[in-house]
Symmetry: C2
Subunit: 341 residues, 2 copies
C-alpha cells in the first residue's frame, strides 16, 4: 500500500508535557493499540504518564522498540528546543521518529543529520506519500464502510476504531483505515487525506482501501462533513474514492452549529447527511447505504443518553449507539444483515 | 487579491515549436487578450506564428514589454535545453518569465541565478500562492456566475471568457476569474484550484472572487465536473467557495462518456448537473440558480447545430448557446432578468 507506514513496537515520547489532555495522541495509541506500545519517555520528573513502563532510549532499543512516537500536541505545533537532545539521540540510536506537528522533522538540521547517519526514518504524518494518482473510479474487490459526520470532531475516528475492534471480536475480517494524522499514528499506516492536493484526493482514498478478499471490510476513518463550508471538498473526495458499500453517520449529541462556523452555519440533520452521502456516493457505488448512527454523548447527562439514542433510532430507523458506551455491535449486526456472506 | 499575478504587456515565447495546435496557450492569449500581447519570439526560422510582431528580447524590453509568456505546450511538460539561452537572457534583461509546465522555472539553476541577479520574477502558474486560508463560508458582496461542466475539457474556460467579453460589450461590470493555468495566463491572475491542498480548496475559491461592488459580476472559470470520478472534489470546493448566484452548464455536443474514463462512466444529464449543483451550492448561496447552457458544437456538423441547441433549450427551459458561434448574449439577458440591478 502506498501509504505512510510506521514500524512497531513504539516508545511514546511525552517530552516535557504535564497535562494529560495534551497527550491525547499518546493516550489514543495506548487505548487502541496497547500491544504496540512498549514504553514511555518523559523528559521531566513530574511529567504526564500513560501508565506504560518508563524507559530510556537505550532501554527502548534493548527492548526491541523500533519507533519513537511523539504523543503530545505542542502549542503552536512546533518541537521545543528542549526536546532536541533526546530526539537526536533517538535518531542516532537508529530509532524512527514519528510526529504530527507543523514543523517538519526533516527541516530540523540536527535531526536530519542524525537520521542520515544511522539510517533511521523521520516520518511526518501530515505529509502525504509522493505520486498519488488521480482517482480512477474502478470497482475494487472487498467491502468498505465509511464514517461520515454531521461536522468535524464528532467522533468519526473513534467510531471507526470501535467498529474495527467489535468486528474483529465478532470474528469478522476488518481493518481500520486511517485518513488523518492521529488515526495514522494509531493504525501505523494511512494517508492524511486533508493534506493531499485536491486533484488527487479521491485517488488517495482509493489507495487507502485497496482491493481485498470478498469477506474483508475496510473501516474507513471519515474527514470533515459533506455540509461543511470549509472542509466539504475533502469529505467529497474521500467519499467518492472510498466507494463505500455502507456508511455510518457520526454526530455529537447537543451540537447545533458547525464548530468554528457558529455564526453562519447550522448543522445539517442526520437525514440530510444520509441523503447527500447516498446521492454523491452513488457515483462510484450505486448500492451505497447507511447502516447506523454513532453518537458521541459525552456532552449530555448520562441519564439522558438512552432516550437521546432511542429518539434518533426511532426517527431514522437505523441502529443508533454511542460507540464508547456500549459498543457498535448493533450497527455491525445491521451490516451483516445487509451484506450476507 | 492573494492570487498569482502577471504583469503586462507580454512577449509570447514560441521556442522551437512548429505546430500551431501546440501553441494553444499563446493562441488563447492573442484571441482573448490581444491588447496585452505586443510581440512574439520564435527561436527558429520556420517556427509557428501567432501573427504578432516578431521581436528580439532587447526589442521587447525597448518596447516596454514586462513579461515573457511561454505560449506552447511542450511534450512531457518540461523546458527543452535549447530554450535556456534565450530564457536566461530574458531573465537577465529583467523580464519576468511565466510558464505552465511541470518543470518549475525556479528549479532550473541558470534561470534562478539570472532572475536573482536582475530582480525579475519566475512565475509557475501551476503553483498556488502561499498561505491560502480555510474557506470561511461568509457571504461576500458583489455577484458571481460560475461555469460548471458535465465533464472536463468541454469549454468552461472559453464560455467564461465569452461571457466576460459579451457582458462588457453590453455595458456590464464583469471580470473573468481564472481557476486553471491557461486561464491564469489569459487573465493575468488567478489561482490553479486543482493544485491547492484539499483542506484549502474552497478557501482558494473565496480568494478568487473577493468582495466587490453590488453591480459587479465575477465570471468564474469552472474545473472538472461534479459527477467526475477523479476531479469531483475540486469541482465541489470551487462551487462551495465561489458561492455563485448563478451558474451555466457547459458541455460538448455528442460526448456520451467521461473523457478518459469511458469504460466505466457515462456523462450525467444536464438536468442531473443542474440539480446537484443547486443542492451543493445552496450551502453557501441558497438562492443559486442555473441561467443557461453553453454547448461546444465543434464536433457536430454545422447543419445540425441549430436543432441540437434548440432541443436542449426546449427540454431544459433555459437559453442554450454555442458561445463561440453566436455569443452568450441570450444567457446574459437571462442573468439580467434574474438579477435586476
Amino acid at each position: 500500500m502506498k501509504t505512510i507506514e510506521i514500524t512497531p513496537p513504539y516508545l511514546i515520547f511525552l517530552g516535557t508535557e504535564t497535562k494529560k489532555h495534551l497527550a491525547k495522541t499518546g493516550a489514543g495509541l495506548v487505548e487502541w493499540r496497547p500491544e504496540l506500545c512498549k514504553g514511555q519517555l518523559s523528559l521531566i520528573d513530574n511529567g504526564v504518564s500513560l501508565g506504560l513502563p518508563d524507559m530510556t532510549l537505550q532501554q527502548a532499543v534493548d527492548a526491541g522498540i523500533k519507533t519513537v512516537l511523539i504523543g503530545t500536541a505542542t502549542v503552536g505545533g512546533s518541537i521545543p528546543d528542549s526536546w532536541l537532545d533526546a530526539l537526536e539521540e533517538a535518531a542516532l540510536l537508529g530509532l524512527d521518529i514519528v510526529a504530527g506537528v507543523h514543523t517538519k522533522l526533516g527541516d530540523i538540521p540536527r535531526l536530519k543529520a542524525a537520521a542520515e547517519k544511522s539510517g533511521s526514518k523521520l516520518i511526518d504524518v501530515r505529509v502525504p506519500p509522493a505520486k498519488i494518482p488521480v482517482g480512477n473510479g474502478k470497482k475494487r474487490t472487498g467491502k468498505r464502510v465509511l464514517m461520515v459526520g454531521t461536522d468535524c470532531a464528532v467522533g468519526k475516528k473513534y467510531s471507526a476504531l470501535a467498529m474495527e475492534r467489535d468486528m474483529k471480536a465478532m470474528g469478522m475480517n476488518a481493518d481500520f483505515r486511517a485518513s488523518g494524522q492521529t488515526g495514522i499514528m494509531i493504525a501505523g499506516e494511512g494517508i492524511p487525506i486533508d493534506s493531499v492536493v485536491s486533484d488527487f484526493v479521491s485517488g488517495a482514498a482509493e489507495l487507502l482501501s485497496p482491493d481485498n478478499t470478498p469477506d474483508h471490510w475496510d473501516v474507513i476513518e471519515g474527514q470533515g462533513g459533506i455540509f461543511h463550508p470549509g472542509f466539504g471538498a475533502v469529505t467529497f473526495g474521500l467519499l467518492v474514492g472510498s466507494q463505500p458499500d455502507a456508511f455510518v453517520v457520526c454526530l455529537e449529541a447537543g451540537r447545533t452549529h458547525v464548530a468554528g462556523w457558529e455564526d453562519d452555519y447550522e448543522l445539517p440533520s442526520i437525514e440530510d447527511v444520509i441523503d447527500r452521502t447516498i446521492a454523491i456516493g452513488s457515483l462510484t457505488n450505486p448500492a451505497i447505504r447507511c447502516v447506523g448512527i454513532s453518537v458521541n454523548t459525552a456532552n449530555i447527562p448520562e441519564a439522558e443518553r438512552k432516550a437521546y439514542l432511542e429518539e434518533i433510532e426511532k426517527r431514522v430507523g437505523l441502529p443508533t449507539v454511542d460507540p464508547l458506551k456500549g459498543g457498535t455491535q448493533r450497527i455491525i449486526e445491521r451490516l451483516k444483515a445487509e451484506f450476507p456472506a
